[in-house]
Structures are given as structure tokens and as C-alpha cells.
């Protein structure tokens, strides 16, 4: 089945997205170069400190940017005056990219934690709430995969995103209390507290910019895929509807003109009552 001109137009990425993609690539490459070769190793952590250019920016994208944007977009979808599928698609794209970054936050954190703390995992407040957040938004993605009418799915997912978002501060505070009542202060703060070298500060700043650009680019591309999926779904429905109609046209003369009312031929002219998903 060929895709129409309208759909093909979506395949071509808009100019701003290509510019953002190029900038993301350049800034990420610059961060890697500065982080691995230019900046000095740390006095205490040696080369391990280089994770500081990667881990906090990833966490910033996952925990604040992605989930904040999805909550905002969901709210704007539910609000009648601004309701449009744009917000639904934006929220979905943002959550999906956010879940990837959230998993990366945990992975880079664990890789950093093993040599510095000696364990892959500790029941630190930030670690625990980040892990719970990942599961919360995996639930959102699972809900999104359930086949439903796009409007129904959009409303359901918007409610789910908001309800999950409301839970985030409660989870965070409860886990912090759980820690302070049981094990004492968190260890994660210690890594960033010493005053850092000038070139290190600039590299860290560049890391934040680079990963923010990567996030914007990924959400943009994911949004386009969502639009394409909706378009091709609708087109496929139209095509198969037309095919069924054509079958009906062919069969109706042989069924005896007006004789398709008695039900023996399965009334081929009537459009199918249950179509697609």
C-alpha cells in the first residue's frame, strides 16, 4: 500500500528539527571530547569523576524536563479550551523519551556507585524514588499500548500521567523520611559539593545543554512517528473500507439485485460495523 503525498510530507523532517539534531550532535561530541581528554581527573575519584558530565544532565532531562513536560501537556489536553491531539502526542513522546533517560539515569548511577560506594544499589532516597518513577511511567506506556479509540486513549493517558505526576513529591518525601529515620544522611550529595575546577564546570554546563538538545530532538522525531502512525492507521482503514465496498458492488448483482435484504448473502453492501481498532 502506497502512502499518500500528505503522509510523505511528514516523513521529511522540518528544518528546525534538523538544526536541533545537528546542534545536539555537535554539543554531545564536544562534551565527550572535553569530558574525556581536556578536563583533569579528580583528586579523590580520579577518572570516575568524568561521569559527572553525563549522569546529572541525564537525570535532569529524565526527572524534570521529560516528566514535567508530559504533565503540562496532559493538563493542557484535559483542559477543554486547549484540547488537541498535539498535546496528547507531545505527552506520549515526552514520556517515552523520559523513560529511556530515566533508565539511563539508574544505569549510569549504578556504574558510578559500584566503584565509589562499593555497591550497585543502595536504598538511598534519590535512587529509590527514581526507580519508582520509572515504574510509574512504564505503567503509562503500558496503558498507551492498549488498543482504543484515539480520543479515549488520549483522555485516559492524560489522567494517568497527571495522577502519576501528583505522586512524585509524595514518593520523594516519604522515601527521604524513610531514610533519615533509618540510615542517616544520603551519600549522593557528596559528589557534587566540592568546588570544581573551571574547565570541569564549563564541561558540565555544556553536558546539560547537549542532553537537553538531544531530548528536544528525540521528542520531535518521536512526535513525527506518532503523527505518521495515526495517518497510516487512518489511511489503511480507508483503503480496507473501500475494498469491502468494492467487494459488495461486485457481489450484489449476482445476489439478485434487491435480494440482499433476506440475510442469506451476508448483506455485502452494508459497510462493516466493526472496523479496525
Amino acid at each position: 500500500m502506497s502512502i499518500s503525498e500528505k503522509t510523505a510530507a511528514v516523513v521529511r523532517r522540518p528544518r528546525w528539527l534538523r538544526v536541533v539534531g545537528a546542534l545536539a550532535l555537535v554539543s554531545t561530541a564536544a562534551t565527550v571530547w572535553l569530558g574525556l581528554w581536556v578536563t583533569p581527573p579528580d583528586a579523590v575519584q580520579k577518572n570516575l569523576v568524568r561521569l559527572v558530565y553525563l549522569h546529572p544532565p541525564i537525570a535532569w532531562v529524565a526527572l524534570y524536563l521529560a516528566f514535567g513536560l508530559s504533565a503540562l501537556a496532559s493538563l493542557l489536553y484535559l483542559w477543554r479550551r486547549t484540547r488537541s491531539m498535539f498535546w496528547d502526542r507531545l505527552a506520549a513522546s515526552s514520556v517515552e523519551v523520559g523513560v529511556v533517560f530515566n533508565a539511563l539515569t539508574l544505569a549510569t548511577g549504578m556504574i558510578w556507585g559500584r566503584p565509589t560506594w562499593g555497591v550497585w544499589w543502595t536504598w538511598d532516597a534519590r535512587l529509590t524514588s527514581t526507580a519508582l518513577l520509572l515504574v510509574l511511567f512504564l505503567g503509562y506506556l503500558a496503558l498507551r499500548r492498549v488498543p482504543a479509540d484515539p480520543e479515549v486513549r488520549a483522555r485516559r493517558c492524560a489522567v494517568a500521567a497527571l495522577v502519576a505526576f501528583v505522586d512524585v513529591p509524595i514518593v520523594h518525601f516519604s522515601v527521604i523520611w524513610w531514610q533519615t529515620l533509618h540510615q542517616g544522611a544520603t551519600v549522593l550529595n557528596a559528589n557534587l559539593s566540592p568546588t570544581i575546577h573551571g574547565s570541569m564546570a564549563w564541561t558540565l554546563l555544556l553536558g546539560f545543554i547537549a542532553l537537553t538538545l538531544v531530548f528536544v530532538w528525540m521528542v520531535g522525531v518521536r512526535y513525527q512517528i506518532e503523527v505518521l502512525a495515526d495517518r497510516t492507521g487512518a489511511e489503511r482503514l480507508e483503503v480496507s473500507l473501500a475494498e469491502r465496498w468494492a467487494e459488495g458492488e461486485l457481489e450484489s448483482p449476482s445476489a439478485g439485485g434487491n435480494g440482499h435484504g433476506n440475510g442469506t448473502t451476508g448483506s455485502p453492501v452494508r459497510p462493516p460495523t466493526r472496523v479496525g481498532q
Binding site: V152, A164, D167, V171, S174
Partner: protein, 222 residues
Amino acid sequence: MWRDALLVAGKDLRIELRSRVALWQVLPVAVLSLVLYAFALGPARHTLAAAAPGLFWLAVLFSTVLATQRSFAIESGEGTRDGLRVSGIDPAGVFLGKAAAVAAELAVLQVVLWAAMTLLFGVHVHTAWLAIVASFLATIGLATAGTLYGALSAGLRVRETLLPLLVLPVLAPVLLAASRAWSGALTGPVSSGESWLRILGPFAAVYLVVGIVLYGPLLETA
């Protein structure tokens, strides 16, 4: 809104009283889970007594999933949801009614579980008011958040597997706070238990408000 809530809650509880599904299925599973926890941890009294608050709330948490699933299974009959929708009942009333019915079931469940735990694990409450206040707030939180997610996954073919994934991470703070509060009520210190009410209270209030506001849009989608 309140009258509608009473009507819906009355309907749900009457169905439960007559069908006895909650009584003969959810309740035995909850008590059974206490026995299974003891198998998993070993029969030593002090181990069980130390773990008792957490195990109690874990049993309540899983029962909440069952109770909310049941609460929406009774709405899944032919045209029941449409009937409810066209009856002119305020969506907020439906939410409050269903949540109240779930809360009432959970309250009964907690009394039975508590009796079972006293017998099986040999634990006693030292500060009764703390245990009761914590239970009250936690039950409101569990019932409201559970009902919200129950409505979200109602009518979906995969609801049995989807609901636990959606609702358990959201309810995690309740499990944490309620077990710590009960730990304070059972063995002390009371002050550390008391501070956890500051998580349970806001959780209950937030999900009560969120449910009242968002239940309308959810009911439309069915």
C-alpha cells in the same frame, strides 16, 4: 453529590453483601497471605513480630488491588456503565460512592486481618489511637487512588495485569508510611510513628481531590 455518593456506595455494598465475593474470596486470600509470609520468614516469633506491620500492610495493599478490580467488575455487565452515566448521577458522586464502598470493605478486612495477626504472630497494639488514625487515613488513600486507577483500566481487556502495574507504584508511599506508623503504634517510639501521619494525611487528601476532579473526564471515555 453526597446523596449520589451514598446511593452508589449503598448499591456496591449491597451487591457485595449478596454475592459474598469479597467475603469468601478476597478476605481468605488476605489471611492466607499472612500464613504464607510466616512460611517465607520462618516460625521465629521475634522475626514475625518485627515484620508484622509491614506484612499487615502488604496484605492490605494486595487486597486493595483485588477489591478495586471487583468494584469495577460489577460495573462491567451489559450496559451497566451506560446506565450509570445516563442516570444523571454526578461523576464525583460515583467516585466518592465507589471509593467509600471499597474503603468500607478494606476496613472490615483490616479488622479481620488484625485479629488473625494477633493470634498468629502474637503482636499487640500499645498505642491504639495511632494505629486507628493511621489505618483511617491509609484506607482513604488506598480506596481513592485504587478507585481512580480501577476506573482508568475498567473495560480494557488487559485490566487484570494492567491495574497492579499502574496502581502499586502509586500506593508505595502508603505502604511505607502506614507500616512505619503501625510500627510506632506496636512497639514504639510513638513520636516516630506519629510523623508518618504527615504522609498519609496529604496522600488521602490529594487523591480525594484529584479523584473528584478527574473522574468526570474518565467516565466519559467508557
